[in-house]
Symmetry: D2
Subunit: 286 residues, 4 copies
């Protein structure tokens, strides 16, 4: 099965970046088949596949998602790559400034991206900055100056490329290939689609997410329902909630609210929810 | 700093097994110091350390727990080792039946461990089995028979050890050394202390947990509060809860319930809880 | 690109085992394209691809082999699986004896596989054993006895499956799915195709090797030339060799022996060989 | 066992960098004890320990080196960190430019480090550059300009730190904590002490190597003899060598050259050498 890139699956990101799908192994039925090796019972319908995939992700049975793979080529600023490469389960190959003079591409943010330091959040951006356009222009000038100096060192003076890049700014674009299985991608998306992730990597994560949904729609929907959009209550929060909400809902109102079983909300899932409400003190024990 | 095993830290597990601490790198202040490399600001008090450690685990900032290490020697039945070694981030060295005749130790469960197949749960044990004592006796006999045959093949007939073990039962004990960082141990404990984990590995996880608490009390307490005993509500469950509990608590009753700030429940944590209740529709927006 | 198993690529191994290819991502051109992201220069011919792939493996530039993936379904005795799963970079899903009664399949070696313990080698097999046929027959009987007892516990007495398997011999077959990139597979093959690897896993490695060669012929040929069949001389051995072979070959005889440049032995490779001979003291310095 | 940094073990690297040992788990006897779990036979002497450690490394039995750990704090230019963090088996925590204004430290090479692009080697440095002093002065000026602009954005204009660093050059220093086991460190040293590694990371690897030798002298000596300074002959080279050196040494001259057995060159090792010479056609078959 040759690697068969579908070049329509390329998304532009930031001013000069992109993510481009290079290959996929498996489809939405793969986590189901890999999981069924445990039991030896094959799925009989697509609904059963969906049900199992959702069960697996809900209960963090993650190994069946390791048998499906997505591979991308990405162009991103070095500052984004520095965060991306902290994900150590991916395989990477990156462009090397020792081998070639890198292309003259730099990330310059849109003016409305430039903000004051956030007040409450040590790591984030706050209100829009009134002088942002000036800063953006100055950043662009700095990048042009570096580019001129870098090119002169290499082309006029034949300085070793590995040193000529000494002052290359982290806004410079570089290109890499990244391969990972679905679980690797889930962990990446979970971390980098968070509101606290830096904007510049978040937009890459979102582009990956959009492409992934085309190839593994059911898995990504389950990932969103059970991981991305879940709310985790700590032990202490559970205790406080019990104290604050002494009047729980009745069995009747529970039964009235819970929908008819379907792959998207199975009978088993309703039972799990019931258990959680009991643990939360939000359902009357009968 | 030589490896300095504290042999009092050995706990018996099952009938012939044990976990024995061989070494520790770091203590409860290490995740705090490793995390503070990000900000360059040192902790000024133990309370600040606790606060940061709890914040990190609550938000799944896991890398600072990778710089502290625990190493154990473990004796366990092969059936337990088969599950344990699925944890691929640990480093292992195991006794080899190719090099030596293994010691004549077999796991025979207590009679009250022997149960009917669970009805609702495909993988678990159900009600106690009335004939359990007979089964246990028969298992013991089978083990003695294998042991006699194994010893005869090796000692009388000098058959290659790598083949003499052909029919060795998975109840046979083997011994291994396992090294992992705190994050590796958290993931192991999370999975193997669950009620659905097989009893035989659960008791090993519990023994590890007890020893770990002596060396990293604050980290393990946070792990328990924020990981082990947390309740995660899925997106669908959140929607249903809003529908079922339309009458939220007031800002006053929230403020009345939330305790004074302390390292165990900080002001920031109270704010996070408030946010979650708003997302859950359980707190009145003012 | 859906997972598209080519079921002709199944090879039987041992008496009841097999390896069956489930999926491939990439082909022999993929390591080349992944490596060329570094330099941004595309290969112009197949010969150039081969040259680069061979250069990469010769110099242990391994990351470009991480972007190509092979996935197999394997049936093997538990004793083999125990060794296989020590390879921690693969992804696995295995049949579970908690979920189902495992199929009645056991590994019984051919009589000529049964040997005396090796004399010089602590871990291996030595001369053929004259009583091997009797042992094989006895092993088969033991397996039948276990099977009868296992089936009775589950089917007659409804004992929990997770305990009924207590004395399951490690000769019992189990089935798993394994996914890994080319580098993972190289490491596995390097270790498990060695003469000192236990016969029972070696035959699985050889079956994987045969299938891999069909999909990545050039990469596997380079792996064989530069990894599998290479000879590594230690620093001490180099010193001794210099002492023992004071009369080195002349530049002329070197030039006469070295073949014309080709992708299989490039000019660069000849230069590397020259350097090694100089370091070994086997070539006269001119 | 608390983390007990020995601050004398800090080595300066480049103009403002350093490596500082933060912790060690295990000592030179640990790989030996971890390996002996396989056989259950304890070492009786230090010579036996050395012999086993050397045997293990010679034969790439690497798992016993995974049970010993070294942890460092490192300050290095971002360009070095970019290469270092490609080693994915280490655990890292790095200073964050989102949380704090980074210290005004930049790497400026010594003038004699600045060279022409290498002619034969696409990635390296060649002859010294006559204008190097001017380049170094200009790089220093560029760094001062960036520092002024960075400080002004943060301190005068209160621009969000995560953006103010947009054009930070990769010569800027950052600080991180890195934890890894001995095998992880071997792999790092093997790759980064090579002559083809970029000078700036090579000096860090050498500093780590010097410190490691103090804690694991025997393991590091074996690593040097069997990994770092070994010469690997490919299959093709072996064939050519046979052709070029038809006159092999005699058994007598072999026996005369091989030294008396010692832990540094055991009888087993002499036998292995003999086998290699036979495979190389350099020893007469008798």
């Amino acid at each position: 099965m040759p690697l068969n890139p579908d070049y329509t699956n390329e998304k532009p990101v930031l001013d000069h970046g992109y993510v481009r799908l290079l290959g996929v192994m498996g489809d939405d039925s793969s986590p189901d088949s890999d999981a069924r090796i445990s039991t030896g019972v094959a799925a009989r319908s697509e609904a059963q596949q969906t049900t199992l995939v959702r069960f697996l992700l809900r209960h963090k049975h993650t190994t069946p998602f390791e048998g499906s793979v997505m591979k991308f080529e990405v162009r991103a600023p070095i500052m984004v790559i520095r965060e991306w490469f902290r994900h150590r389960t991916f395989s990477y190959n990156e462009e090397s400034g020792r081998y070639k003079q890198l292309d003259p591409l730099y990330y310059t943010p849109e003016a409305d991206r430039v903000s004051y330091q956030a007040k409450s959040n040590h790591q984030g951006s706050g209100d829009p900055h009134p002088e942002s356009e000036r800063f953006v222009a100055e950043w662009g000038d700095e990048q042009k100056e570096f580019e001129a100096s870098y090119t002169e060192l290499i082309q006029t003076h034949n300085v070793a490329r590995e040193l000529a890049r000494l002052n290359m700014p982290v806004s410079h674009y570089s290109t890499f290939v990244v391969t990972g299985n679905l679980l690797n991608w889930f962990r990446f998306l979970q971390l980098r689609m968070e509101a606290t992730a830096q904007y510049e990597i978040r937009v890459y994560a979102e582009a990956i997410f959009e492409i992934a949904k085309q190839y593994f729609p059911s898995s990504l929907a389950a990932f969103q329902d059970y991981w991305l959009d879940a709310i985790t209550l700590t032990r202490r929060e559970v205790d406080l909630l019990k104290q604050m909400l002494p009047r729980a809902v009745s069995e009747e109102s529970f039964n009235g609210a819970v929908p008819e079983p379907s792959p998207m909300f199975t009978k088993r899932e309703a039972g799990e929810f019931r258990e959680k409400l009991l643990r939360l003190g939000l359902l009357e024990r009968t």
